[in-house]
Structure formats: structure tokens, C-alpha cells
Amino acid sequence: MNTNLKISNVTKIYPGCVANDNVSLEFNSGKIYALLGENGAGKSTLVKILSGVIIPDEGNIYLNENNLKLNSPLDAKKNDIGMVFQHFNLFETLSVFENLIIDSDEERESLREKIDTIMKKYNFSIDLDIPVLNLSAGQKQKVEIIRCLIRSPKVLIMDEPTSVLTEQETSELFLSLKKFSEEGILIIYITHKLKEVMQLCDEVAVMRRGKLVSVSEIKNENIESLANKMVGQNLKTIKKKKAKASSDQLIKITNLNFTSEDPFETNLMDINFSVNRGECLGIAGISGNGQSELFQVLSGEIISEKKSIEFNNNYIGDLSPQERREYLMAFSPEDRLEQAAIPQMKIFENVALNNFKSSNFFNNGLINENKIKEHSKKIISDFNVNTDNIELKSQFLSGGNLQKLIIGRELITSPDLLICFNPTWGLDVGAINYIHETLIKINEQNKSIILISTDTDELLKLSDKISVIHKGKLSKIMNAEEVTSEKLGILMGGAN
């Protein structure tokens, strides 16, 4: 029973961008296909078309020669196309079984039997009667997969499934996917992670700016060749020089605790670490383990005990972000659009958000627009922001350019310490490279960085020391050379 899925001349145009430009692809069961591309390359649009969420402007989908009309996700389900989205569609407060029965037409008893068989067959162990909110990300994903398997799909599409998983959960997932493939389910795996493509897939289709760039077999490719196809240019690989051993301590965190009133926040427990000048401390972890709270405590958005943070021989735990900036700290938060910058405001107005006294943006309570504009122009040219109009609203900058602007804004005061949180999240490879180079340069100038990131590769590339945060606790601090991504994965999962 072979499954053949054909995408023929699919085009989808959004205002201002062609998301899919005449894309044709063919898939056959028995193989695992990778759909590779940067953010915004059009791969998500393509799978949304396959799963009936989006209706294409032109083109057809054929499953075993039948022309499918996919007008809703329900149509896709009826036609045996299963889809696991990057963000889970589960009701947190309902039990696993309740979540599964919602969109099933089967009787309770027979459904339960069916789920049990599936779980036995693929070695899943999930308690069906506990609420979903008690599951780990990996388990939640399994619930989503079971939801698809109940309908015995011919095609299973996985959209960036590993972004929330630990290393261990990822390898478990890969084993299951391989098993599904052996049983004749056609697997389409969407990702921008090259390593995963090499590990898992048989064939790879690369998309760039809405167009299909290449289709090839994995055995003819390697990571560099795929990366170049994905980005469309030859990338130089950057390497960090080993830091000079410095023993000049810059910041020291002692017995720092934070207890939140918000049940959706993570409490921080007994955080201790220190960073020397010229060093980069990486903090790894799966998102939601206290990174955001740690960032806020370090930036002063959350005030803590005065003596818990010692910076440059001053106790600053009770100071506001603005006061901390005066001590030469700088901050680049995770959320570019909702926190680090205001998209509706002009570029130069966003620059004024980092109000450092000596930059004289505001004199006697009045705005000094000339000074701000002068400063903004300098940032734009020094940090390669791709525009020359500082009056432009920042919403019209791409993610990469906006991030360059933010990092530039923070660095132009030449701070002693930059604290950044997921600085390259969602950026294209070119911008990521630029940001990484900038961060390395800071270290070379004997300035320090605290890099909180969920991207293990980034951490290994940039850090001198690494620690892992899990449920609000930091692991012991390790030298980056002694750490492997496997080891980080184990610590991120909470084991010792």
C-alpha cells in the first residue's frame, strides 16, 4: 500500500510577500522527507496548505492521484493527513483522554482500547487520566502524535517538533518517526535544524523566499552544503578564540531567590554564580524553566535583595533597570516586538529607550531630539542596520535588523556587561552570524556577557562557562570545553 502525495504548482500570495511561489513536490511513503528552510522561507505556509488551514491561491494537491480539495483542517483529517503543529493544541486542564476524545467520533471504550494498542506498539507511556498540564513537553507531543495515529493516517506532518524537546526526547521522537515510516506512513519533517535533517531524513527539499530551491537525497549532502542552499550564500563559520584567563570578577550573584505570585511564573531558588571580565556565561535550559524570571531579576525589572547582586564592587540588587544602566550594564530581552522595542514607534524613539545619563537624550525633562537622532545614525551605521531612515517605524524592520538595532542600542554606551536572552531567536542565518560575531567581539574587548538561551549550539559556540537552569535552579557551572550537547540535554531534562 504505497502513498503518493503530490504538490503541484502551489502558489500563495500574501499582501507584500509571496509565501509560496509555484511550488511542486512529490513524496512517496517509506521515506522520511525533510522540508528545510529559514524562518519565513515558506515552509510553514506549505504545510498549512497541506493540512487545510490555508487555501492556496493556485495549484493542486494530489493524494494517490486524487485531487484533494482541502478547505479546512477537517478535510485534511478526512483525507488521512495528520499534522502535529509546533505549538500544541491541547486543553491544559483536561485529561489526556478527554483531549483525545474531543475530535474523535468513536465510543469511549473502543477509543481507549485503540489508544492502548497504539501506546503499546510504540512504547509510549502516558497516564491517560491526568491533566495535560502535568505532562512534559515531550509527552504532550506524544499525545498530539497519538491523536493523529488514532485516525491511521497515510501522511504525518511534523512542524518543527524538536524546538521544545530535550536531546533525549528528541532521539526518542526520531525512533518513533522511523518506526512509523517503516510501517508505511509518509513522514514530512519541517525544520531549520540541519543536524536533525542529517540524522533522520532520507530526502530533503530546501525552500528559500517562497521558492523551492532543491530536492536531493541526504546521502549526497552534508551540513555545509545544506546550509549554503538554505541561506543562498556561502557562510563563513565563526569560531570563538579561547578567552584569556581572567580572574577579575565583574558580577557576583549570591543566594538570590525570587518567589512569584503568578502561578505561571517560575520561582528562582538559591541562584549563585559569578562572571569575570571578558567572559561569556551561557545559561541553557528548556524555555519556561525560569529564564525569563532570571533575566528580569538581573535587569532590575524585578527588584531583589540589595546584597544578592554585586556588580563592580557595588551592591545593586535593589536598583531599577535605569539605575543599573548607569553602572554600565546593558540588557537585550527575549521579546523584540513586545519588550525590547516598540514596533509602532520610530527607530530613533526606540533608541531613546536606553536612557543613559551621559548620552543626554533628555535634558531637564525635555527631549533632546537632535542628540537622539545623531546617536541613532551612529548605531545604524556601526551595527549594519539595513536602513538609512531613522524616522521609519521599527515595525518595518526585519527581525534581524531590529535585533541589530537593539543590540546596537545597548552596546553603544560600551557597557561592562551585556545580559541577553535568546538574542538570535527566529532570525535568519545571516543575522544570527552577525549577532554572534558581535557578541564574540564584546568578549574580546574584555567585556562580559550573560547569555541566556534555549539554543544549545549557540551556547556551545559562544560561552566560556555554561550552567543549566531547570525549574528555577542553576546547575553547577561548567567549563564550556568540557560540555557536550548531550550532557546539557540531560541536565536540561532535570537529571544530574
Binding site: 533597570p321 535605569q322 513586545e338 516598540i342 518595518f396
Partner: protein, 354 residues
């Protein structure tokens, strides 16, 4: 074929054009309504928009109505620009009037230059006090300021009702629901003999200038703007976001309170049940029609003020119900919101492909 395409960047020209378009569409639709009702559309529109302001008296009346609208809308613009949806300006106006009226009654039968400033100040403080309720509830208890500020309007009107019927009613007033007339020292001076336009207009003009300066030129204004767009960003930049919210409510309350003072110490001269023909609500339309910009608000307040006058003239001369004034106000807001669609989308005419 017509296709609607999203604009890459909202057009600046359209930003100022849509209010004009909205007014034009309101006139067209208004004419149509008059026609359906059996009036001659052009004649009716003439009675509505031209006759009332054709003479000196009419023009003074226009400024008289525009003054509170402008004042309140200026205050509201601080709230709206920072995403605080204070729609209870009518309540703040009423409460400001109550407090300043109370103070004015205290000085009953007294003379002195110091009385009027105290009365005016009392009105501003009253408005601020009343606006602080939704502000504090919003910042510390996460309540919705739309609901709270709206409901407080009715509370303030009932308080006023109680006062003018009960404790504050004029002992020589034959049980009419009104207070004594204020002394002349507690009244805003008239600007011209025989016209009702009073010194309150200077309060409005001062508010225009000050608000422009604060919002566009000062660090405080910048912080308000940032806090309005995103409290998270304000926190990150180190601003006191919650204080900003309370501050914009206080500004807005003070302006509404001053508008209340202007009414009772100006044309009315006492407190009674109906001190405001819903100026506080209509000012919301004015604020948006004026694009939340001080200069825009001046023009918008004049335009909307005509609808008040026009409704009266049209009723007198053509027996058109005066509630058409409210219909016109509603239409302006409706067409403004509708034409704002053009800010973000453009209509393209494409020849059909064959």
C-alpha cells in the same frame, strides 16, 4: 475587479484625510436621511450646519459648546494615546462640577478675586479624584477601566441628583431640583457684552498648548507614550508604568473636571440636574476625529459642536427632532472608523484577467 490590498506603510496623507472624508460622508448620509424623512436635504443641512453659526451670537454659541468638548478631548487624548480607555469623562465632569459647585456655594454671598481660582481648582481636583478610582482599580486590581469608568458616570449623576434635590437644593427655590445661583465672584467672566462666551475658552486653549508641549517635547510625555504602547517595555526601560497610568487618568480627570467648572460657573451659574448634554461622551468622538492631536482636536471640537447647535435650529425651524444631533455625532464616529480602514488597506482596481 476590485481588490483590497494591505498597505506596506500607513499613509500619512490618508491619516489626515480620513477625518475630512468622514465628515463628508456624514453630510451625504445625513442628507439622505433627511430626504427619506421627507425634508429637502440641502435645506435641512443648511439649517443644521450653516444657519446656526451665521451670526455673531451663533458663533459665540459654537465656541461655548466647543470649549468643554475641546478641554475634555485634550484630556482624553492622554489616556487614549497611552491605551487607557477612560470613557467616563462625563462622570469626571459631573464630579468636578459637584466639588467646584460645593465650593462655590460655600462662598455664597461673598465677594473676592480669590474665589474663582479656588472654585476652578476644586473642579480640577474633583475630576482628578473621580478619575483616580478607575486608575487605581486598574493598576492595582487589574479591573477593566472601560467598565469602571463608564459605570461611575451614572454614580456621579445620581450623586448630583441627590445633592440638588436634597441637601444642596435652593431653600428659596420652591423645591426645584437646583442649588442657589453662585455669587458673581464665583463665575467665569463673560468676554463680550450680550454673548454667552466666557473665559473658560482660555482654559481650553491653555490645555491645548500644554498638552502639545508635554506630549511631544518632554521626557514625561515620552514615558507616557512608551507605557501606553507596552507596559513590559516601560518596565524594561525603567519607567514607572503604573504611575504613568494613574497620571494620564489624573490629567484626563482634571480636564473633564475643568470642563464641568466651565459649564456651571459659565452659562449655568448654579448646579442642577442637567449640567452637561453628554459632553463627556461626545468628547470621545472629538478626540478621535482630531486624531488625538491637540490641533486636530480644536478643529474636531468645532465640527462636533455644530451638531449640538444644528440640532436645535433644525428643530426650531424645520421640526426635525433634536436627537438628529446625536445621530450626526454617531455617524461621524462610524464613518471615521470605517474610513480608517483605508489607513491600512488600499483599494485596487484591476482589469479582469482573461
Amino acid at each position: 475587479m476590485i481588490k483590497i490590498v494591505k498597505r506596506d506603510q500607513p499613509s500619512r496623507a490618508i491619516f489626515f484625510f480620513t477625518p475630512v472624508l468622514a465628515i463628508f460622508l456624514t453630510l451625504v448620509a445625513g442628507g439622505l436621511i433627511f430626504f427619506i424623512l421627507g425634508f429637502k436635504p440641502f435645506e435641512a443641512l443648511k439649517f443644521f450646519f450653516i444657519v446656526p453659526i451665521a451670526d455673531k451670537y451663533g458663533f459665540s454659541e459654537l465656541l461655548l459648546k466647543a470649549t468643554p468638548l475641546c478641554l475634555i478631548a485634550i484630556g482624553l487624548s492622554f489616556c487614549f494615546k497611552s491605551n487607557n480607555w477612560n470613557i467616563g469623562a462625563e462622570g469626571q465632569l459631573t464630579f468636578g462640577a459637584i466639588v467646584s459647585g460645593g465650593v462655590a456655594l460655600l462662598f455664597y454671598e461673598q465677594e473676592g478675586f480669590y474665589i474663582l481660582p479656588i472654585v476652578i481648582l476644586a473642579g480640577a481636583i474633583g475630576g482628578m479624584m473621580y478619575a483616580s478610582i478607575p486608575a487605581i482599580l486598574k493598576t492595582y486590581f487589574n479591573t477593566n477601566e472601560i467598565l469602571v469608568s463608564l459605570m461611575l458616570v451614572y454614580v456621579s449623576k445620581l450623586i448630583l441628583d441627590y445633592l440638588v434635590v436634597g441637601p444642596w437644593s435652593n431653600p428659596e427655590g420652591f423645591n426645584f431640583p437646583e442649588t442657589r445661583q453662585f455669587s458673581d465672584s464665583a463665575k467665569l467672566p463673560l468676554l463680550f457684552e450680550g454673548l454667552r462666551i466666557h473665559a473658560g475658552i482660555f482654559l481650553a486653549l491653555a490645555a491645548v498648548v500644554i498638552s502639545w508641549f508635554v506630549f511631544y517635547k518632554t521626557y514625561l510625555g515620552f514615558q507616557m507614550k512608551v507605557s501606553g504602547f507596552s507596559l513590559k517595555t516601560a518596565k524594561y526601560a525603567g519607567y514607572k508604568g503604573k504611575k504613568m497610568i494613574i497620571l494620564v487618568f489624573l490629567i484626563s480627570g482634571a480636564c473633564a473636571g475643568l470642563a464641568g467648572v466651565g459649564e456651571i460657573t459659565g452659562p449655568i451659574g448654579q448646579l442642577h440636574r442637567e449640567i452637561s448634554p453628554d459632553y463627556g461622551f461626545t468628547a470621545i468622538i472629538v478626540a478621535f476625529l482630531g486624531r488625538l492631536h491637540p490641533v486636530g482636536i480644536i478643529f474636531a471640537s468645532l465640527v462636533v459642536a455644530i451638531t449640538y447647535l444644528g440640532a436645535e435650529t433644525a428643530q426650531i425651524f424645520m421640526q426635525i427632532p433634536k436627537y438628529t444631533g446625536q445621530v450626526f455625532q454617531g455617524m461621524i464616529l462610524f464613518f471615521l472608523l470605517a474610513s480608517d480602514y483605508l489607513l491600512f488597506f488600499k483599494i485596487k482596481f484591476i482589469g479582469s484577467k482573461k
